[in-house]
Amino acid sequence: MHMSKTSTVNIQIVTGDTRPIFKQIVDGVRMEIAHGNLATGAKLPSVRGLAMQLMINANTVAKAYADLTAQGLVEARQGLGLFVSEPRQLLSDDEQEKRLKTAVEAFVNDVAYLEFSEAEILARIANALTKLGNGSAKPHEEN
Amino acid sequence: MLELFKSEFLRYRKWSFVAMGVFLAAFAFVARIKPFLQPEATQMALSFLIMVGGSLIFGLMQMFLHKRPNHWTYLVHRPVPPHQILLALLAAGGAVITIAVVIPWFVMTAGIDLFTNDIVDIRHYVFILFFLLSCLVGYLIGTLAVLNASKGILLLVVLMLLLLSPDPVTNFWQFFPATAIIASLLYLNFVSFKPDLSKHTSNPLAIALLAVPMSGVLVYGLILSTGIFYHIPLFVMGVHPDNNPVEDSFGYMWNFEEKERPGYVLANSQHPKAALFAKQAELADVEWINTYAWIFGRQGQLPMKDGQYALKHKESNTIWQFSHDHMLLEGRHGISKKPVGVIGKNGFLAALVDATDADRFDAIPFLVGDKFIQTKKTLYQVNFDERLLDIKFQPAEGTTILGPPQFRENFVALATSKNTLIFDKHEFLDEYEVAVPEYSVPHPVAPENILNILTYRMVDGYILMYMGRHYLGFHESAAEIIHAKLDGGVESIGIRKFSAKKHPAWVMHWEDIVSPVMRVLNNMVHHAIEPTETGHKSFSELMAQRYPSHIYWIVGIFQMVSAAGCYFLCRRHSVEKQATITWTILGAVISLPAFVACMLMNPWRVEKTTA
């Protein structure tokens, strides 16, 4: 087997945030995967390597990696490290439904008072989704 | 541990050499002004003060720098047992002191020995060792004061008096106290050096080793306390005996002028001539003499105990100095420093090599004036012009001379163990024959009980007024008038006992009440060191002294109070059992000073443990 090159994980962590650091890492990696910067099969930096890059305790990185593994976003290959997994449905339909509903409600709350027309808003949403879709496999097929 | 020593020594290395240089320069300067080895009071005092005091301050500073919280952690928190750490620190401190102190003295002494003709005995080198030991005592007191949690450790500095003031009777007694003190201080330092310095000593031996000397010093403080509750209040109220003399007390005499005192002493005398003498005394010449027993020199004694340095002969400009190593006076020319002969007990000799053991003096003599040499048995007079040694006076077999001649305006007095002798002054000083005393007055009581003698010149001789606080016994003061006649007769004219006491018994004996045991200990130690000093009594003499009976009651009460005080103080601070027992015993035995020591050596803040 050839040694795969470690991919760059371009995330920032912020101290003083209300999210703990390990959560920021999890979210950051997830976004990288979602944006397509981390392709399926990409090799993640070692625990120590990412810790040195972010200047944080290696145990925190280990915790984040464990979380990502539990979520199924990455998987360990024996002796080689952590790699981005194949995308697959991770959440149950009910769970997906719930999360979409929450996000939509929150979004609507945020924009309701703005003076855009419904059509304008919908167009913007479509635009954003398109941008997100570029460069990575869609995580979810239409039901 | 060697690494710790090196590191600590490195810290002070520069300063130790600087100090060494400064002292050497100061010594060289002194050597230009006077013979360096000639003991001179100011020079000695300053040397001790600066070097021993400096060692003390150095010890304080060295440990203080380490005691600061972060520095203490840095020092102690390492995989080295505490006693090794302390050993390294003390060794480094000792090295620093040795360099700063020993080298200057040694260079001067050896230099004078090798490059000049001045007399340098072995004892001059031995002195350097003693000086170093004194400095180490100061140093270890300084370190202990910082390392030990007790207050009042610096009081131990008074122990230096024990080292410096007595005239030890042998070399053993010269060095044993210093060695014993150093050993004790080392032990105490090691016991005190633990990670938590705020813990007070609970080791019984350490407590005793610290409490006993501290009690010895505290006795003096307690003695001064009479000022607070007796002397000052009485002064304030205007009834202090100093301003209101008590009739018929020993001190009452000082209310009279010297010429009136015989009248007072003879007031109740039945002697027919009493009134006559009293009247004559008012017109007489008055002098003070005494029967004080001087401590004669000892072969090998340290130079600081030396008396007069040398005999100087002006006409030939020669200086004659006594050498302990040779037991002879060696002469040198004042300017060329060339040897000009020696004086042995049999007379002059041309050179040192001519002397045999028969010529050597048996004991260290006093050198008096510019021509007298005095031992206990003989008073010699040196005739420099004819290079002869004459016997000026020799008391009878079995009698010793107590001290050097006392030169007064009209006579020269000499006290022997049996008599007080009065010589014609001109005959004594200017003639070469054996001096015959004009008057020889046997001591009416033992010479150590005579405080002073006042002499009054009469028409037909002298009257001598003897007086002493213990003239007739322990605290039985009296004064006696004795008539010494021209023709040789001696007669007691009258004796007056003083029955009244200036102060009440408890004030007078306060020093003994405060701690009888310390008093006995103090006397015993001093008596062992200098047995011939009559100021310190032997154990048997002390036991023979009788006090008024209520004094014994007071002593007993103080001892019980001290024991109880120590016990309750220890309970209050939750002191460990062994230590509590030790303190209670110390309080019972040593009385009040031990109680004060107990307060100083235990915490002052009560830190109660939770129930």
Binding site: T15, I56, N57 | Y74, V76, R78, P79, P81, T609
Partner: protein
């Protein structure tokens, strides 16, 4: 096998009337970095002095690496390192001399670790320690402390007074030096940024008592931040369970509480709040709220 590197039990220390530590019971597991946070006078320095045997408890016990602190053996002292903000070192020796001096005491000294850590700092071996800047001294101190290969390393505000570069170097060296064994690190700091980056566990001390011993996230989850409109003024703190602090801002009361559930909002309404909303909390705010609750801050409730 020693489970805990530090263990205290009912540890109390009084200085006369003042209590520095009160019934302090703490067990620190081996491994990882444990942060200790506490305001001045919280009892931290007293705790360490007792743990190292430099002070004696009034009551209770303290153990370091399984050994009673009052009786630490030389060997155990060799396995526990201690560094504080003063970075005390012999000022009269050169850096090189201090290192070889220190090395002579520790048989487990690892020269490679020393070399790798000192590499983060710019220390001239021939310079006297007195001439080193604080950052250089800190680096030298850390290099030696890590080279000793201790089982436990206590750092008490080691980056205090260090400039940004030195601080960065220090933290990097501390976190990323490859050590042989599993060194437990105790890290005391007031700087939240450092704590967030470094801590596995968060211990909070306040006025001599233990307030928290958990992961930082778990701690933050204990604290919640509520905003309420109390028309008739804020009720007394007795009525507010878990009360930490309150501030009046723009007519509304911002309240921080500990260990309350999601139903706390309802409770506030029950005691007089008209409207209630919740805001999020970061680590710094949570810690500060915890520490101020005993302080006399101006009470802005009305």
């Amino acid at each position: 096998m020693v489970q805990h590197c530090i263990e205290t039990n009912g540890l109390t220390k009084r200085f006369g009337k003042k209590t520095a530590l009160k019934d302090f019971t703490l067990a620190v597991e081996r491994g990882g970095i444990h942060a200790i946070v506490g305001s001045n006078g919280a009892g931290k320095s007293t705790l360490f002095r007792i743990l190292l045997g430099m002070a004696t408890p009034t009551s209770g016990s303290a153990k370091l690496l399984g050994e009673d602190s009052q009786n630490l053996s030389a060997q155990t002292r060799g396995r526990a390192g201690y560094v504080n903000e003063e970075h005390t070192l012999p000022l009269w020796m050169k850096a090189r001399e201090v290192t070889s001096f220190q090395k002579s005491f520790y048989p487990l000294w690892n020269q490679e670790i020393y070399n790798s850590v000192i590499g983060y700092f710019d220390v001239d071996p021939e310079q006297k320690v007195a001439g080193l800047s604080r950052g250089e001294r800190a680096g030298l101190n850390l290099s030696m402390a890590l080279a000793q290969a201790p089982d436990l390393l206590v750092l008490d505000e080691p980056t205090l007074g260090l400039d940004v570069v030195a601080k960065q170097s220090f933290l990097e060296a501390l976190m990323f030096t490859e050590t042989d064994g599993n060194t437990t690190i105790i890290y005391c700091s007031h700087q939240m940024e450092e704590i967030e980056r470094v801590a596995d566990e968060l211990i909070i001390m306040e006025k001599g008592t233990l307030q928290n011993n958990s992961s930082p996230e778990a701690f933050v989850e204990r604290i919640s931040y509520w905003i309420g409109d109390f028309v008739n003024g804020l009720p007394v703190s007795d009525k507010i369970p878990g009360y930490l602090s309150a501030k009046k801002i723009d007519g509304q009361h911002h309240i921080m509480v500990a260990d309350q559930g999601a139903d706390f909002g309802q409770h506030l309404k029950n005691i007089g709040a008209e409207t209630v909303s919740q805001s999020s909390v970061n680590l710094e705010r949570a810690i500060n709220a915890f520490l101020t609750k005993n302080h006399n801050s101006p009470d802005s409730r009305v």
